[in-house]
Amino acid sequence: MTAVDTAPAQVGGVPSMTVTLRIRRLNPEGVGDHAAGEDYWEEFQVEAHATDRVLDALHKIKWEQDGSLAFRRSCAHGVCGSDAMRINAKNRLACKTLLKDLNPAKPILIEPIAGLPVEKDLIVDMEPFFASYREIMPFLMPSGPAPERERLQSPEERERFDDTTKCILCAACTTACPVFWTDGQYFGPQAIVGAHRFIFDSRDEGQWDRLEILNDKAGVWKCRTAFNCTEACPRGIEVTKAISEVKKVLNTGEI
């Protein structure tokens, strides 16, 4: 028996609707009435299903209405972390946000993530964000010769940093942080999450090097526990908790 597609595609099965997207745009070379580097709102209307994601709506705009709309996306399935943007004033991944969860009756506001320099439309310069991540040395720092087989770890040891291994570096947390917005001095939640992942790893021996870097006025102590990061994280990482665990280690001296 061969499986045959007998039933016609149920396009009408999911209700379709017209949604309005108000997108914060910026063209570095200027376009129409807008000077180079000026940011402005532009509205688009797309026909979409309730189960479509914001990314699908953006694709429709880019492919069918305005090819100049610029945004990043790679895997489009919530794994690569390229398409973090500010949707209805909350940082989310466009590929994980369904239109039906956004009250499509009103225009959906889409802005680039805040606190990083905008290059074009929804694309920001991620370099300051990655620079902070590099500073905390996000790689295993073991001592002694490499073992012949895996570095073993008990489930309990793994459990301590399991949450922070989920980070995909989308920058949703860091660009939701009100302290990060102020002057760019703060490392940002993501860098601390990245450090947490190694500090609490029993196989790593560079904990105190990383803690020394984070024990800075612009390090963990700049965190005001606003919880914006925890709320923004599309992976559900308890970011503020991770930051507090690093603070606790610095206060008690015990990992």
Partner: protein, 150 residues
């Protein structure tokens, strides 16, 4: 046509945590917990016990401050609340003041305000006369019923 220059992020100035800063950080947490207890006790005693909010007049305050422990409790509350609030505001200024100059000015205003309020409040609490008398030596109207204390 050339693209506008992107504004560079401010280079990070390495400022290690020092002992004073850490002391204030711990103080902020500890004082916060103590203040929750003190403030809710204060609200409960003043607003819930007895006749509630309508009982608060000169005699009520005088009656409380005639007891040394209320003086101590209110003084501790004043001190912790002012230091906790001042330190928190100071964090905010450090976070949000753009220039060195505006930061220095705002910090100075904050420091002066804190000192004035703490000194003034302490004077009121510790030099308070619960049973004021007029020129003839008789109690003024409105003194608490227990006068003279001690």
């Amino acid at each position: 046509m050339t693209a506008p220059e992107l504004s560079q992020p401010m280079p990070r100035t390495r400022k290690r945590m020092n002992a004073t800063y850490r002391w204030w950080w711990v103080f902020q947490r500890v004082s916060g917990v103590i203040l929750v207890v003190l403030i809710f006790t204060h609200l409960f005693v003043n607003l819930m016990m007895g006749d509630g909010v309508s009982q608060i007049d000169f005699a009520f305050v005088a009656g409380k401050w005639a007891a040394w422990y209320w003086q101590v409790i209110d003084f501790v509350m004043l001190l912790l609340a002012m230091l906790h609030g001042t330190n928190g505001m100071s964090y905010l200024i450090n976070d949000y003041a753009r220039s060195r100059r505006s930061r220095a000015i705002l910090q100075a205003i904050l420091g002066i305000a804190a000192v004035v309020i703490i000194v003034l409040g302490s004077l009121v609490i510790w030099t308070f006369e619960p049973c004021p008398v007029d020129a003839t030596g008789a109690f003024l109207p409105g003194v608490p019923s227990g006068c003279p204390f001690n």
